[in-house]
Symmetry: C2
């Protein structure tokens, strides 16, 4: 039973709450008990915790089945895969000094994961590395990851208080015993070479590390947060509740699609069911012993601030790399125009810019006598034509518009738009590439929207160089200028790439941009561009980072190359546009 | 005219000496002058040094050829490629603050390298990066390297005195202005991702950096050393000579196949040719102005200590990775046996070990009555059979030998050897895999030579586990034990892998091994095993390096995995034997 619905059609994974259970060889009963009690899935031990491969002699090995919690047939495949996350035996310690434990651990780990794969479980929870060294554990897991199918492996890591979690920590503190559990995770994941099926499950304890230490987990692939019952406080009515910091953290988990799991024995003396409202009861008055904790989480979920519309729109694109458009080489699809045209904020900014330009260019006394020539280069299906005409109407200026568009499919739509709106006298449609068109007259105003996330990655310069030929010397280009940014970095991070943004001055004080500090609100046409680094680099606080970017041009394509030169040199990336280029 | 011959058939590249020349558009004459003067090749400027792309207007660009030193037809293709290393214009500065210089530099660099490729030159010399930043230079060169054909690019780097070239230098000194020219090279090569066509040419100046700073260049791909005439001292007779340190360095260059180039004007007042011995004269008494410098280098070359036989044998295998043998999965070829059997030192060590074992096992008084059963497992073409029989003869003991060999081709040779030597009464040949053979009796002594470079990488444990079945409980196994090593590292290095060695105790004090400090001399059957790291790691002096190795066994193969865990974690290498495994 999901925790709630943040908005109509909420599909967030974090609506589903799990419960950690002990080993039980009647797993169908265990599942039904907990589903009945309101939980959505189990974190269930798969193997009898007393099992040790070395305790079995050869005969037993041959004649006996492994002591798993029930055969695959005790539940349907969809029950196994929808409601069970497999918990790998906690005694497993691959870096033990005892050779027998190491060997038993490797055998058991492989057997349990093979069993979980056989059951098509979506994920397994791996025990926390026992010591500071985890090399053999990582080596073994790395072998397993190479042939794993689709299952995720969640490495269980405590969200631990780091002892020297201070800004002024010495640059070498990381090697002195790894007090921060993030370091343990980082070593583990480096050893497994950032394998995308290896992720994290965090144990939430009663005390939390500093906010900056917590914050960096949100850059990691955290799939679940296991909250211990003894991390809950007690409210005035005797019910469990979380501290303000725990509440904020839990809300952040919800917003990042991280699933919550409740773990441990009930430790709160909640008033008996008879005193509860009907909402908290189930038939017969029976209540799951951990229900008060679940109810509290459901309460938190339901009372979160609703997501702004823009964030909801963007939810599906989060942590997802999209290929930039190739508007020159390819013709855009109707669907793409559809999405662009929905971005009303963008066009109202263009309308404001054109209006200001018209007023500056044509004094009020000439408003009826002068006709301004405006060219929309890259008119698409007409949104900038419409915005320009609205600006003319708003300012009572007269316009003559050339709508230049190279995509013949969009030109079809442009023609019907012009007919439908009765713009035939004002708008001339030119079906041509702006780089080749010979304009019959020069323009007073040139309007274009060829802006990539990085301002020029969709080839604005190449196109506009061609188009600027037909702008009058005292004409106005909208946009008039362009700035591009890179982000800054403050923490010790394993740093894996750069985000690129633009900010364009359309005209005078009318801006359009996605640089976070000055971003035009509620605009969704652009996401930041991402310049990855093949190998993440570790940057200590205060160490300057020196980065180079090049925009390279060939006769048929344009591409970026980039590199880091300090603290240490990286290879030059995307040489000759090897991995990505934009066609001319 | 080569500098000399260190031994009969000397084919070292460093026999050939070059000379750096100024731009001359009569390059055939320039070449003939210098060949005539005793040099073997030119370091010749390819392009008129006054050329700047930006100085040409469009018309000139179209109508005029580029001002190269002569067309390709002025010399034969083999003259160009055997005797000319192209020198790229020294004015080129891709990281200049002046945009015109940057643009001219990129155009000229590409034109000159394209021209050198057209001429099929073996190498081009690239100008030294001008400032501390070389990112744009590296970016441009990296693009060129992607499509270069076979030509090498030698980046010219001064062998510079580093200002804080002290052991106690702070770990961060490298980022404070790169005082050591090695750092410049290192950044450059990292930016170009260790491209194997990018190498180094060192400028040798009159003062040399510290020995440790010089030493690390011998880990780099140095192809040429350019010695300035003003780095030479003057001897008592007025002739040029080098300081002791320069002499040692030059000898080291010779030994590492690094070619010497003489550069600069003659700065020594050498007595006139009439005073010379005939050896130094050419017809007509004419002498190349730089001839005294060349003669001195020839003198150094000829008076070097001759290479020991073993080093000469190994010369062809230097810096060359060989695949380890797969003696179990594959049958070795006759040629391989041939090479093994030449390693007389190895077999005399085995003979010593068998002799000691026989004496220990059979007291003198029983020498004639007791016959010792000895099995050679992996007998090949018989060298260990021969060594064992020689040990028996030497100690007057009686032997019965089983020679077990799985390769039917080697068994053919074994049979004819036994017949030829008349060993039929003593030696029983068993054509079988030792892992499957059922021996008719147990052995007193078991002899094997299945040793890889790393002791067990050619599967000694797997084979011997099988063979030890037929050794008597109080029998002797030769070798009796095995140790493996890894090297240690002392310097700040870009560290790219590990060398592995073994040392085996054949019997009591008889050893066989390749660990450098205890290596058996003059043995050439084994080279160290190399465990590479995909990405080199930089280790500061005093930083501990933590490394893990695993020998992993599957049902059909054996392989190693390895990783670094400190100072930072690397990925686990060779997961599941992905890159290399040994078949069972």
């Amino acid at each position: 039973m999901p925790l709630g619905e943040k908005y109509a059609g909420d599909k967030s994974k974090s609506r589903y709450c799990g419960v950690e259970t002990d080993f039980d060889d009647d797993i169908p009963n265990l599942l039904s008990f907990n589903l009945h009690g309101g939980f959505d899935f189990l974190l269930a031990t798969l193997m009898d915790p007393d099992y040790r491969p070395s305790l079995l002699d050869d005969d037993k090995r041959r004649s006996r089945a492994l002591p798993f919690a029930g055969s695959d047939l005790v539940m349907s495949p969809s029950q196994w895969s929808s409601h069970v996350v497999g918990k790998i035996s906690a005694w497993i310690d691959l870096d033990s000094e005892d050779e027998t434990i190491r060997e038993d651990s490797e055998i058991a780990l492989k057997q349990e994961i093979a069993w979980a794969s056989h059951l098509s479980l979506q994920a397994c929870l791996l025990p926390t590395p026992k010591g500071t060294s985890c090399a053999n554990y990582a080596r073994c897991l790395n072998q397993i990851l190479q042939n794993l199918g689709n299952m995720q492996l969640w490495l269980r890591i405590p969200l631990d208080k780091s002892e020297d979690d201070e800004e002024e920590a010495s640059p070498n503190h990381l090697h002195e015993g790894q007090t921060d559990s993030w370091e343990l995770w980082n070593s583990f994941r480096l050893l497994c070479e950032h394998h995308n099926q290896l992720s994290v499950s965090l144990d939430i304890l009663s005390s939390l590390p500093s906010p900056s230490s917590v914050a960096r987990w949100f850059g990691e692939p955290v799939r679940a947060a296991i909250i211990k019952t003894n991390s809950f406080l007690t409210n005035a009515r005797g019910y469990p509740c979380l501290s303000k910091r725990h509440q904020r953290l839990t809300t952040a988990f919800f917003n990042h699609s991280i699933q919550i799991v409740i773990s441990g024995q009930p430790v709160h003396n909640v008033p008996s069911p008879s005193g509860l409202t009907s909402e908290n009861q189930v038939e017969g008055g029976w209540r799951h012993p951990l229900r008060p904790y679940l109810d509290y989480l459901a309460h938190l979920y339901k009372t979160m601030d609703p997501l702004p519309e823009q964030e909801r729109f963007e939810l599906g694109y989060r942590d997802y790399l999209q290929s930039p458009l190739q508007p020159l080489m390819d013709n855009l699809e109707a669907q793409t125009y559809e999405i662009f045209e929905k971005d009303t904020v963008k066009y109202s900014q263009y309308q404001r810019a054109v209006a200001k330009a018209l007023v500056d260019m044509v004094p009020d006394e000439n408003a009826f006598s002068v006709t301004t020539v405006l060219m929309v280069v890259g008119a698409g299906r007409g949104p900038l034509v419409r915005a320009s005409l609205q600006a003319a109407e708003e300012t009572d200026r007269k316009l003559k518009i050339y709508a230049v568009e190279k995509n013949p499919n969009a030109v079809v739509t442009l023609h019907s738009l012009v007919k439908l709106e009765g713009w035939e006298e004002i708008v001339t449609i030119v079906s041509s590439d702006m780089r080749n068109w010979e304009a019959p007259e020069k323009a007073d105003i040139l309007v274009s929207e060829l802006l990539g996330s990085f301002g020029d990655n969709e080839l604005s310069p190449e196109c506009l160089d061609g188009a600027l030929r037909f702008l009058k010397e005292d004409g106005i280009s909208i946009p008039s200028s362009l700035d591009i940014y890179h982000t800054k970095f403050l923490f010790v991070v394993d740093f894996a790439g750069f985000a690129g943004y633009f900010d364009a001055t359309l005209y005078k004080d009318v801006h359009l941009g996605i640089e976070p500090s000055t971003a035009t609100p509620n605009m969704f046409s652009w996401f930041p561009i991402f310049f990855p680094l093949r190998t993440p680099i570790c940057i200590q606080p205060g160490t300057p980072l020196e980065v180079h970017f090049w925009r390279c041009c060939g006769s048929t394509k344009v591409w970026y190359e980039w590199c880091v030169t300090s603290p240490a040199a990286s290879p030059v990336h995307n040489t000759n546009g090897r991995s990505y280029w934009v066609g001319l």
